[in-house]
Amino acid sequence: MRKYTIGMLVVNQSGVLTRISGMFARRGFNIDSLEVGVTEDPTRSRMTITMTGEDYDRDQIVKQLEKLHDVLVVREMIPESIVSRELILLKVSASSANRQEIIDAVNIFRNKIIDFSPESLCIEATGETSKIEAFIELMKQYGILELCRTGTVSLDRGTKSLTNS
């Protein structure tokens, strides 16, 4: 079992996400995360999918995605040559007794405090999955009140892109 990242450009119109997620469901593919958002060209959306599986699963996912009419480009992104980020917003309970300790942790992880109340802190964290996981783990001891997490987004390093490779 390995982790794979798949990058896609798709037509930006309603129903595209349903087609893609529906195809995953009916072919029994399990994915870890799926991110989608419009690109600088409003007719196109960019998707990043991460999945855990074997080469067979990756090959089938890429080939079946290629067949969908609304999918313009799809390919695997090689882990060694991409930059990837996730973002979380995390609300943790904080009191005068432990607030400074939490702030220290936030600073060490180079995250940001974006809201402050007498009983809680709201923290924005971005980074690779491993950093995000470690930070969430650390925050558990203070009591996580709420957490919201995007999936991974990835770009190729250098000038390489989905459309020129």
Binding site: G15, T18, R19, G22, M23, R26, Y56, D59, Q60, K63, Q64, E66, K67, L68, H69, D70
Partner: protein
């Protein structure tokens, strides 16, 4: 022009000659235009939308053209679903047009409203709901292009009623051309050449993709050069004439013994336009363990999907085969053919004797004497389908019209209607009493269209295929497979305005066939066969060639 006019003009522009369908509230405007344009485009009214879908499917299979089907919103659209799935599983090029409630009523659970694009999403190549009349013509053109490009399949276009009444300019366009990409390079062809030259016992496994691509000649030429036998999938059956000495017949669960066993002895299998369905492979871990496999298909997702192969070549099967021919050694293989002859002798000596008395094989042989090489022969699904695939001598491509992937009981009558209309010929339907009972309402269509159909019902009073499994794997618990119906198919045929005969002997059958083939109308022949007739040989599900039951 109104949207409805645009739909009809675009269909005509795309060379649509026939539309199969059924009117209703949300397609009234489309039907009004069909009425005004009846001299330019023919509409065939069926008894049920499912029948229309299967008729369009049979039409497309028999002609290679895109089958076009029209239905209203709600139940009209949902009645198409089995037919759409059937076309999807067998890669049949079709365009389905449905009406829907006006855009303003969508999402409000209006009368006869369903989300048909949502419902059909997993069983179409693509689908659309058109909410802007200016995009209507191009969407339909795109639907035709998608339906016939690459690996063909069904496309659905849902058109709300207000889009049918809205107006815009219509700009004619040429017929949408199919796009078929070749995605192989010299490297793969060279490797295939090496594999072909290294092989002593090559075998070509031919599927429906060969028929779709019209690559029968290229396939035959490659087999000739390699001096190798050909086995086919159910879908590829008509790609190779029965009279070819290279054709061993269908392989798989109910395949011909020699075809299946020879395949398992081959050292190289060139699989062309097949998808290695579980019904064809049995146990995948044991399948062709000792052979190298070259897989040629237009759909890249089929390579390594079900069976991991040594070499995949993605492209137009016709082009690939022509290219492979240049790399193929021209050799004679007496030892390989002697081995095949020995397998055949074993088969002849050991197979179940199924041609004594009024048996399915004898019925098929009798039909075969009345038909010619161009007669489309449709089937339903079950024992009669396998008997037909095993026994009928198909000589020309697109003459075998059968539901492969979905295995749709009730497919046959609609399909035979479509095949007869498409080929402008008498069509034969070989069916069973179970399958025929599912959609026999389409007899009304056959009669009202004055179609020369010969319908043979292999009537054994049971759901034979399921019963056969119950016999073999469920301790003869014949749960709900004994029909005990009182249906008189002769009277039923007459009630529909067709002609009916009953045959319980070969003499009666010959007499009935003589009259049927002299008639210009629809004739039903109720053939009474024994309920214990089995389909043999059989490889039990998940089994291997070693588990093959020959008698």
């Amino acid at each position: 022009m109104t949207g409805a006019q645009i739909v009809i003009e675009t269909l005509i522009e795309q060379k649509t000659e026939v539309v199969f369908g059924y009117p209703g509230g949300q397609v009234l405007n489309l039907y009004d235009e069909l009425y005004k344009n009846s001299h330019r485009i023919r509409h065939v009214l069926t008894a049920h939308e499912q029948g229309a879908a299967h008729a369009g499917d049979g039409y497309a299979r028999a002609t290679g053209k895109v089958g076009v089907v029209m239905a209203t919103s709600g139940p009209g659209a949902t009645n198409l679903v089995t037919g759409i799935a059937n076309a999807y599983l067998d890669s049949v090029p079709m365009v389905f047009l449905t009406g829907n409630v006006p855009c303003g009523l969508i999402g409000r659970d209006s009368f006869q409203e369903v989300d048909i694009t949502g419902i059909t999403m997993p069983i179409v190549k693509h689908n659309y709901i058109v909410k802007d009349v200016t995009k209507l013509a191009d969407t339909i053109r795109e639907a035709f292009r998608i339906a016939k490009s690459g690996r063909p399949g069904p496309v659905l276009v849902d058109i709300p009623k207000d889009v049918q009444t809205a107006e815009c300019d219509f700009v004619p366009a040429p017929v949408s051309e199919a796009v078929i990409r070749n995605r192989y390079g010299e490297e793969q062809i060279a490797k295939a050449g090496e594999m072909m030259r290294a092989s002593e016992k090559p075998y070509i496994y031919c599927g429906g993709g060969v028929v779709t691509a019209g690559a029968e000649k290229e396939l035959a030429a490659l087999a000739e050069a390699l001096d190798c036998p050909i086995g086919t999938s159910l879908m590829g059956l008509s790609a190779v004439p029965a009279s070819s000495p290279r054709k061993l017949g269908m392989v798989g669960m109910h395949g011909i013994y020699t075809a299946t066993v020879a395949k398992s002895r081959a050292d190289l299998v060139i699989a062309v336009g097949v998808r290695f369905s579980d019904r064809a492979t049995g146990n995948k871990n044991e399948y062709l363990k000792n052979a190298k496999i070259i897989h040629v298909d237009v759909d890249s997702a089929e390579i390594d999907k079900n069976i991991t192969v040594d070499l995949g070549i993605v492209g137009n099967v016709k082009d690939v085969l022509a290219t492979l021919l240049k790399e193929a050694p021209t050799v004679r293989r007496p030892a390989w053919w002697e081995e095949i002859s020995a397998i055949r002798r074993y088969e002849e000596e050991n197979k179940a004797k199924q041609d004594e008395g009024f048996t399915p094989y004898r019925i098929i042989d009798a039909v075969n004497r009345f038909t010619d090489a161009d007669t489309p022969v449709a089937t339903d699904v079950g024992q009669h389908q396998m008997w037909t695939a095993q026994r009928y001598r198909f000589e020309k491509p697109r003459t075998f019209i059968s539901s492969g992937g979905l295995g749709t009981m009730g497919f046959g009558l609609g399909a035979a209607i479509g095949a007869s209309i498409g080929s402008c010929r008498r069509a034969v339907l070989i069916t069973g009493d179970g399958s025929f009972g599912m959609n026999l309402n389409e007899l009304a269509t056959a009669v009202s269209q004055n179609l020369p159909l010969v319908i043979l019902i292999m009537n054994n009073g049971v759901l034979g295929m399921v019963r056969q499994w119950q016999t073999m794997f469920y301790d003869r618990h014949y749960s709900e497979t004994v029909l005990n119906r009182k249906t008189d198919f002769v009277k039923l045929a007459e009630a529909f305005g067709a002609v009916g005969f009953r045959a319980s002997s070969e003499e009666e059958l010959n007499a009935a066939l003589t009259k049927a083939f002299a008639s210009d109308g629809t004739v039903v022949i109720d053939c009474l066969i024994d309920r214990d007739e089995r389909v043999l040989p059989m490889i039990p599900p998940g089994g291997t060639v070693n588990d093959l039951v020959i008698r």
